[in-house]
Every structure is written in structure tokens, then in C-alpha cells.
């Protein structure tokens, strides 16, 4: 707590009046009580049944998990041998017999097996879907249709069904047809959205100068988020009109279409951006710098922020040449490198803590400035995941959920996002046995064994 307090103190000063600061500590107390626990609170989707099918398709798996966090009863239908997604994991690390990504996204899910290619399995599936509100189809485009259980057929049976299709190039357009055999992965999703083309250092020796993959599943999670947003938009329409519909997500277009920068840039300037390493195209300084003992992250792009950094680094001599945003945001990258080199040298002279402390001291003073002209330069330690876990803030907020494997053996997964006052998303259980819920679900929905 002590560390946390110290960190925030300078930044709370802008909330000057005593009345406001009292109100804010009351507000903090209120929220801590109101938001910290989901216990006993209703769930947004507790009246909704979701069926998920898919083949090694994580956007499908993740989107079903998110719907489950919001309270839907999610039933994942797998072939008798299981979804191969169960075996996808960093270096093959496994937990409860499955890989980490599958384990993480098993939250609140029910697992049943059905052979959709058999008549009986198909019949059971139809029975199940007829009682469901939402179906996530993360199979190859057209595969479900070829079995007689695509949107075309199911919507006849159940007009209220929201059918969410998730695939690399979507379920319509000529390209989708041409590429319908190409499966989804996060990496190829990133590439299809032009994401690696923006990252990495073009001046490094081969192959370190290649377009560079984002080190998290940026495409898979963006696709899943889009699928859920689409599903909930369609569900709202269904609640109002009773009408279902088909929702289609193209995972190879998720990042590009939602972030949109690539397309806007391409259209406006009629060329691709060149890769500029850790530079930013819009902001400077805005990046990672090496300090004596590791990296710090610097965000100080506005003119007053930038001047603050110069003061913190003791380099006011640079001020005259780089005074305005437009001096520092330029397509003349060579010119900018001069300033960048100066910055690199300066940061290397200090430890991370020194830099953070200096910035906090500066900001504390700047916050008292009546004209607010001193800016808000920010420097933080570039934390590794292990360092993140030390932060008490996340413990207070219960940002991680521990799954108990055996006595004294627990594994952390990230909690549901976000926190909501009345009907928050939550993790109720994490089980991932193949066909583990067959008995219960078969009986509940009257499926034939």
C-alpha cells in the first residue's frame, strides 16, 4: 500500500479542493465495496444459451468464453477425439491435460462431444441449437452448411438464432470462397491485417530486420472481441424484435479494420508506412528507452510534456531546436534520429528508479502550476509480467483468478474484464475435460445417447 500511495500522490494534486478529495476517497471506498466482488449479483446473459463449435480456432473459443463470463450457459461441442486446440500451448506446457490458451478460455464452459458427421450427432445438434440463442461457428466456411446445420438451414428451424461465424476471410465474398480451406491462427491473422509490417527494426541484420510478430495473441483476441461485440449487438436486436441473424467476422481483417490506421494511412498517403523501430509516427517521445538497469517507458509528446522531459534529463540545451511538435513529428526520420540518439545517451545514465522518481517530483510541482503549462511527462518502468504481479493494486482489484489444481497447487489466469457494479462478468469454474458435461447436458436438452 505504501508504494502505491507514493506513486499516486503527485497525480492526485490536480484534484485541488479539499471537498473534491474527500469525495474521491469516499468514492474509492464505495467502489471497493461495490465492485470488488461479483458474489450474489445477477448475470447479464443468464437467460442465454451459447453453443460453440470449431476446429483449433481460438477467436471462436475466446469469444464463447467471454459470453460465458457474462453469464451465458456455454456448451462447446467437440468431435469425439476433441478439439485439437486443446494441444496448443507455449512449448507444450500443459495443465489439466490441455494447453494454457485452452485452459485459460475454459472459464465457465461446458464440454460435450457429438459426432456432427453422423446422422445421430447431427440430429442431437439440431435439438440443442433449437434451444440455444447463439451459435458460434468457428469451422471452415461452408462446412456446417454441407452437413445441413449451417445458418441457411438452422434459421429455418429457429428464426431467433444469432449465428456468429468466425473465420479468416469470412463467409461471403469471392475471396472467402477461394480461401475457405485456410485455417485461422493468431500469427497468420496478424500478417493478414498488416500488423507485423509495422514492427521491428529494418536496420538490423537478417532475419532480425523482418516484419515482426506481436508477442501476444493480438489478432486472436481482437477477433474474439469483435465477435462478442457483434453477437451482443445482434442479441439486443433479438431481444427487441425476436429476430435472429447471421454475424460474420473475418479474423485476418480484425486488427486492420478496428484499429483502422493502416487503411486510413494507405488511403490518405498512397503508400505503406516505413517501419521506424520504436519510433512512433504521431508522437515523440513515445517509446521504450534503455536505462542503466533495464527499460523505461516514456510518454511525453505534447510540447509542455517534452520540455518537462528535457528538464528531468537536464538537457534544456536541446529545447531550442526541437521546440514544437512539428519539429519532432516528421517524415524526416534521419533528422529525428539525432534527437533520439541524444535521448538514448541520457537515459542510459540513470537507473529506472531514478528516472521514475525524478519524473514524479517534476509532476508534483507541475500539478501545482496555476497555468497548467508544465505538462505531464510520464516515465514508468517497463515491467516484465513477473514485476506486474508484485503490484498490490492488482491484488486489491482481484485482477487475477487462481484455479486450484491440487492441494497447494494453484494456477493464475486473468480475471474477467471489466468490473461492473450490478451484473459483472465473472469466473465460476474452470473445467476442461473432454465430454465432461455429456451426461448433464444430454439430459438437460433431451439429446439421444
Amino acid at each position: 500500500m505504501k508504494e502505491g500511495k507514493e506513486k499516486t500522490r503527485p497525480f492526485s494534486r490536480h484534484l485541488v479542493s479539499k471537498v473534491a478529495s474527500e469525495h474521491l476517497s469516499n468514492f474509492n471506498r464505495l467502489l471497493t465495496e461495490m465492485m470488488a466482488s461479483s458474489e450474489g449479483k445477477p448475470e447479464v446473459l443468464q437467460d442465454i444459451v451459447v453453443v460453440e463449435v470449431g476446429q483449433a480456432n481460438f477467436p471462436g473459443i475466446i469469444s464463447a468464453a467471454i459470453l460465458g463470463e457474462f453469464g451465458a450457459e456455454v456448451i462447446k461441442v467437440e468431435p469425439l477425439e476433441g478439439d485439437p486446440a486443446r494441444r496448443v500451448s507455449p512449448y507444450g506446457a500443459s495443465v489439466k491435460g490441455v494447453g494454457i490458451p485452452f485452459f485459460m478460455e475454459s472459464r465457465n464452459k461446458h464440454y460435450i462431444t457429438l459426432d456432427l458427421q453422423s446422422e445421430k450427432g447431427c440430429g442431437n445438434f439440431k435439438k440443442l441449437v433449437s434451444k440455444a440463442d447463439l451459435l458460434i461457428d468457428a469451422q471452415k466456411p461452408g462446412w456446417m452448411d454441407s452437413l445441413g446445420i449451417g445458418y441457411r438451414q438452422l434459421s429455418q428451424l429457429h428464426p431467433g438464432l444469432v449465428y456468429v461465424a468466425v473465420s479468416p476471410y469470412g463467409h461471403f465474398t469471392s475471396k472467402a470462397k477461394e480461401t475457405c480451406n485456410i485455417p485461422d491462427t493468431d500469427l497468420t491473422g496478424q500478417a493478414g491485417a498488416g500488423y507485423p509490417a509495422l514492427t521491428g527494426n529494418p536496420e538490423a541484420p537478417e532475419p532480425f530486420n523482418y516484419p515482426l510478430k506481436a508477442g501476444v495473441w493480438a489478432a486472436a483476441y481482437m477477433s474474439a472481441g469483435l465477435a462478442v461485440a457483434g453477437a451482443l449487438t445482434a442479441l439486443l436486436h433479438k431481444r427487441r424484435t425476436g429476430e435472429g441473424q447471421m454475424v460474420d467476422v473475418a479474423t485476418y481483417d480484425a486488427i486492420s479494420s478496428w484499429q483502422g490506421f493502416s487503411l486510413v494511412w494507405g488511403f490518405t498517403f498512397e503508400m505503406p508506412r516505413v517501419r521506424v523501430g520504436n519510433f512512433d509516427w504521431t508522437l515523440f517521445p513515445y517509446g521504450y528507452y534503455e536505462a542503466k538497469d533495464g527499460y523505461v517507458t516514456v510518454a511525453a509528446p505534447a510540447d509542455p510534456d517534452f520540455r518537462g522531459i528535457l528538464k528531468i534529463l537536464g538537457r534544456w540545451d536541446l529545447e531550442n531546436d526541437w521546440r514544437f511538435v512539428f519539429d519532432r513529428i516528421t517524415d524526416d526520420v534521419e533528422k529525428l534520429k539525432v534527437l533520439e540518439e541524444e535521448f538514448k545517451k541520457e537515459f542510459l545514465k540513470h537507473t529506472r528508479q531514478e528516472l521514475v522518481r525524478k519524473t514524479l517530483a517534476y509532476s508534483g510541482q507541475a500539478a501545482r502550476d496555476k497555468l497548467r503549462a508544465k505538462g505531464f511527462p510520464i516515465i514508468v518502468e517497463t515491467q516484465s509480467p513477473r514485476e506486474v504481479l508484485q503490484e498490490e493494486h492488482w491484488q486489491i482489484r482481484k485482477s487475477f483468478f487462481e484455479v486450484e489444481l491440487a492441494k497447494n497447487e494453484k494456477v493464475k489466469i486473468p480475471s474477467s474484464v471489466p468490473k461492473m457494479s450490478d451484473s459483472p462478468p465473472r469466473i465460476k469454474r474452470v473445467e476442461c475435460g473432454l465430454g465432461a458435461d455429456n451426461e448433464k447436458i444430454y439430459e438437460k436438452y433431451g439429446l439421444n445417447k
Partner: protein
Amino acid sequence: MLEDYFSYTNEIFDQSRIAEKPEALKGIRVLDLAHVIFGPVISKWLALFGAEVIKVEEPEEGDPWRTASYWAKYWKDSSPFFQSFNPNKYFVAIDLKKPKGKELVLELAKKSDVVVENFRAGLVEAWGIGYTTVSQINPKVIYISCSGYGQWGPLRFFPSWDLIAQSMSGVARLTGFGGKDTYKLPDYYGDFFPGLLGAVSVLAALNYREKTGKGQFIDMTQVEALMRIMHNWSYMDLTGEDLKSTGNVDPTMAPSGIFKTKEGKFVAVAIATDEQFLALLEAMGKMDLAKERRFRETFDRLQPENAEEICKILEEWVKEKTEQEIIALAQGKGFPASPVMDDWRMVNDEWRMERGSVVEFEDEMYGKGIWPVPTVALHKTPARLKRLSRPVGYHNHYIFQTLLGLSKKQVKELEREHVIGYWGNRVGQKPPAYYDMESDSIFNFDQGEKK
């Protein structure tokens, strides 16, 4: 059969018929107190699907992203990026520091279903326009506060940017080649992904309200959203080791990577399953590798030394093939592959046009342009672009008269008192130079005497 299926889907998703279809979020009013990216993209989603979004900005300045643009280049006196985060919205400018300004915002909040804000944590509370105030005058309100670390807890006042959130969540250290270098996720992933989950939570709350009539408070944070996508937490607990950056190899898939083709282009290939592996081997004409113990099953291939071997074999193979050959084989045999696209290629991508995630749109103020729309297609209630952004305060008269029932004279009075305002004289805030504001009927809106 497949032919048949795609003609069916092409028909139901026909882009030329979007305008005649209903909107899912019609009738939902959103008060958008947000700025930069994180908050504005939440209401972007809602606006594209039919909600009425009223964006409140500071007079003179407006949203800081108005004046920010890549390499400081603008399009028709506007930031094209600001345009893309703020489609279909109404733009009013209110001085929140004036008591009358606050009253005005509260009047708008009273009439709204959703309020979105992303000031530093606690600021709207201190100003008296936060959830505790708004929920008293509008108990059904869905109020989403977006911040770096949340509205409660010791870190709450700490400032955040996309990049700071990447650093505070641990994401910052995961892109690179495992050595000293580390790269950021480009194009503000730390704003866009949390923003997307913000939209998800508002939609969830709208579903809940539709059913129960109840509103609620949502505490959306950038850092928790980024933590949600990381495998590192479980990996550390299970193995005691850190999961570091791994260059272009995805350690969950073997082989995987970004490789150089014969003609010097780049393609990504990643193999997630045994079936995909066999498909790749078939394409490579190396079926004998399937028999080797070290490559036989997914978990075997994922062992670091085996993964490295099989990646090398793949790399050598790609070197001898063109991009087109690889993509054709991926389709023919069924393994995941994609060209590494770039900005210019994507703009010219016929697929994206046909799909409607890139649309050509003619705006009354800005004319023709090409704009991104989320790749999510809803066949009965599709998203659509109706209007680009407008200068600061453009809809003042329109909104205050039609929604709050003020007369033109009363709005003029607010102008004189500087409670509401308009653009400053900077590119991005003001109308395009060629545009005739004097004869714009919305800007000069007058609904006449109240009946």
C-alpha cells in the same frame, strides 16, 4: 454445394442493400465525454450500429486527436485518424469548468442511455458529472469510466497512455527477439483492444437493461484488458519460468514464423494441429517427416529443440517458393498461411471492399474518401457510415435546440457567456478551408418558435 452456400451468403450480406436495413442500436442515446482513442472508439461502435452519439468537447481545443496526425500530415484540414474514430457522431463543445456548462452536460446525461468518459480516474467525480451525480438524476444510466488502472485501488490516479498500459501490464516486454530489444504493439493496441472490450461491456449492460430496466457503473481499465490476453501468468505458475519474447516464432505453434519468399516477400505460416502439419508436409513433399517421433504430435513439435528444427525446414522451403504458390498450397492442402500485408496493399484489397470493411464514402463536408468499418458483418442490422466528423461545436445549435428544447436565442446567450463554444484556429479543429459554413443549415440550425 459450396458454390451454393457462398451465393446464399453473398446475397444476404449484399453491401449494396445496407442502407435499406434497420439499425440494431437505433433509439439509444450516448453521451460521449471521451477523448483521444480509448473512449471514443467505444462510442464509435455504438454509432456505427445506429446509436445517437453526442460527443462533448472543450471549446477552442476539442479532442486532442483532432490536431494529431501521422507525420503531422492532414486531410482537408482534418486529421484523417480523428475522422476514423468519430464517425456518425454529433459534436457539441461545452466548457465544463463553468457551472452552466456542467448543468448543460447533466441535462444531456439525463436524456442519455449511456455515458462514456475517459478522463483521469476521479476527475469527472471531482467535477460533479460522475456516476454518483448522474445516477441520481438518471437511475437507468449505464456509465462507463475508462482509465489506465481503474477507478479504485492505490494506482488509480496514475496517468496512462496506450504505451504506459502496455508497460504496466507486462505486454511491453513480449515483442522482440528475446534479447535486449523490445518493441511496442503498434497503432495503439493498448487503446483499441480495451476500447473494444469497453464496447462489449456497454452492449452487455444494454442487454441487461433491456431485460431488467436497470443501469449500472462500468470500470473499464486498459491494463486489465491487456492482462486478459496474456498466457504468461499461467505459464509462470506452471513452469516457474518466464515466457519471453520469441521473435517471429509463436511458441504455441510449431512450425511457425514469418519467412522470406523466393521473390523477397514475406509470408506467415503457423501450424496449430496435426492435421495442418500433415497438410503442410504434403505441400512440401516431405511426408517422411511425419514418421519421425519428434514431429509426430503437437506437444512433441512444441519442444524447443524440435520446434527449431522444423521451423528451419519450413524456412528453407519457403525460400524456394513464391508468395502466390504458398497461398495456393495453403488453400489446396488446408494449412494456415497469409502474406504479410501492408497499408497500401490493404487499401487496394478488393476483398476488403467487397466485404465492406473498407468503404468508399461521400461526405457532405469532406467529399469522397475511403474509410475502415469493423469487419463484423450483421446481415439484418449492419453497421454503416453516415457522416464523418465535424468541426468543434458544429452541432451546438442542432442538439441544444432539438434535444434540450432551447430556443436559438437561448443558445446564442450560452455562446455569449462562453458556456458553449466553437473551434480554435487550428487545422483539425476548424472546417475545411473550402467549406461555406454560413450556408450550412445544421450549423445555423433554427427550429423556430417552440410550440
